[in-house]
């Protein structure tokens, strides 16, 4: 009987996972709020400037996800982030 192999039996673990969502840069806040309900803080990482910024955080939470953006144009267009979370 050939059984499927699972991570636990082999002591394997995930160490990284990336979700790619097309045409969704404008929905960052919506996603951040969904993941926040499941225990994730959120930050944004701008590739162009190599800088990170926390956008939704509760220090009691121990998990964090990162929205990776190619440029900070998102920030300029959507300074609403500051007004809500600053």
């Amino acid at each position: 009987m050939q059984e499927l192999i699972n991570f636990k039996d082999q002591n394997l673990n995930l160490d990284y996972l990336t979700l790619n969502i097309p045409n969704s840069v404008g929905r960052i806040l919506e996603f951040a709020e969904i993941f926040f309900r499941y225990g994730f803080n959120s930050k944004v990482f701008y590739v162009e400037t190599n800088k990170s910024q926390i956008i939704l955080e509760d220090k009691k939470l121990s998990h964090t996800l990162t929205f990776r953006l190619e440029s900070d144009s998102w920030l300029e267009q959507r300074n609403i982030v500051y007004s809500i979370f600053r």
Binding site: N11, F67, R68
Partner: protein, 397 residues
């Protein structure tokens, strides 16, 4: 290039423990990716890791990394000030698969990065809730890539050798065995060999599964004659009694014991119920036996060609057992067979018998090569401790 990428593509990254927590939420049904309400969501990258904790009798880790660098051909080492490799990356970062081995404080981390189409394929399994298939595919992919890329004749890949052996295909007509330790030395040869024959025979049967106190057992039924034929035994009254005696004694095997902690252990019988039934006076004997499920799972680390399923005489039995004993040791892929030590048992026997034993040894090793159980690379140690390599085995009596 990232497939399907455009400036409006959003990348949500979960690193380390965050990825494990997300995966936990997904697999236990707390979170569904569909809650994001997105079309065309894809998995862009998956990293999977194995952490091997250092052991006291480990060999030199720097030597392992240097040899892996030689094996890999496209490895890129990062070295410390003493020129020792700290991280070994194998392959190109932009490839769909990318390997890294990291030195940690008291461990080595083996990591496979999966991107592009393979990651997207795996993402579909995850999005569809096919978690078992997701883990199966990734686990096999992980092992396959490390197996191809690093040096294997070392203690640092014991986990990899264990996995490869447990999950390699074992043809139905092959004899299977597990790692042999003290049990081997304390058991009678024939009784032990019969046990190997029996577990190799019974693993092809399916039966009714029952769970007793958390332990799964599978009850199978077969004709005693079928087992006797499989092991090439004559179906006479004497042999039948011998085989019935074997089943009668199965429950005298030492129990399997698992220790989980200082105050917790589990002990179980491999064959808790054995029924031998002859319904009519001259009718066939039927064996109904409950077998601990893990004996039926086909995850045995070693298998041997069909010639090992049977033996022609007691000398042949001894030869086969000595070879099994040499192969089924621990994790190393390099095995040691003490030829002279084995032959010394027979020094008082006739010259022709000793010659037959030598022929048997050569024949069985040739069978192992023929069935690709071993490679034909032999290193001999002579009486003067000199080592010499050979590709072919020849008989010298």
């Amino acid at each position: 290039m990232i497939l399907g990428w455009n400036k409006e593509t959003l990348f949500i990254q979960f690193s380390g423990d965050n990825s494990r927590y997300l995966y936990f939420l997904i697999t236990n049904g707390s979170f569904f990716i569909s809650q994001l309400n997105c079309q065309n969501i894809k998995i862009g990258r998956i990293d999977i890791q194995y952490i091997r904790t250092n052991k006291t009798n480990d060999t030199d880790v720097n030597e392992f990394l240097e040899k892996s660098l030689q094996v890999s051909k496209d490895g890129i080492p990062q070295r410390d000030e003493n020129d020792n490799i700290q991280t070994l990356a194998i392959g190109k970062r932009e490839n769909a698969y990318y390997i890294r081995i990291y030195k940690m404080d008291s461990a080595l981390k083996f990591e496979l990065e999966i991107k592009k189409r393979p990651a997207q394929h795996l993402g579909l399994l995850l999005l569809n809730g096919s978690y078992q298939e997701f883990e199966d595919y990734i686990s096999k992919s992980f092992v396959k890539h490390f197996w191809k890329s690093i040096f294997l004749e070392t203690c640092f890949t014991d986990w990899l050798n264990y996995f490869l052996r447990a999950h390699s295909s074992k043809p139905q007509k092959h004899l299977v065995t597990s790692y042999l330790q003290e049990y081997f030395a304390t058991s009678e040869n024939l009784k032990f060999y019969r046990l190997l024959q029996f577990i190799s025979f019974v693993r092809i049967y399916s039966g009714k599964k029952e769970i007793v106190n958390g332990q799964s057992y599978i009850t199978v039924q077969f004709r005693l004659l079928d087992f006797m034929k499989t092991v090439n035994c004559q179906a006479n009254s004497y042999q039948r009694q011998q085989f019935l005696q074997f089943f009668n004694q199965l429950q005298s095997l030492p129990p399997f014991r698992e220790k989980f902690a200082d105050r917790k252990f589990r002990q179980l019988l491999f064959f808790p119920v054995v029924n031998a039934i002859q319904e009519t006076k001259r009718g066939p004997w039927i064996i109904q036996i409950s077998v601990a499920e893990h004996l039926m799972k086909d995850a045995y680390p070693f298998h041997l060609p069909p010639s090992f399923f049977t033996y022609s005489n007691t000398m042949n039995l001894d030869v086969k057992l000595s070879i099994i004993q040499a192969l089924a040791q621990e994790y190393s892929i390099q095995k040691i067979y003490y030829v002279q030590s084995f032959l010394n048992q027979f020094v008082k026997r006739r010259h022709s018998i000793q010659a037959n034993i030598k022929r048997d040894i050569i024949h069985e090793f040739q069978n192992l090569i023929k069935f690709k159980i071993i490679e034909s690379r032999f290193l001999f140690q002579g009486k003067d401790n000199q080592l010499f390599r050979k590709i072919f085995l020849k008989l010298k009596i």
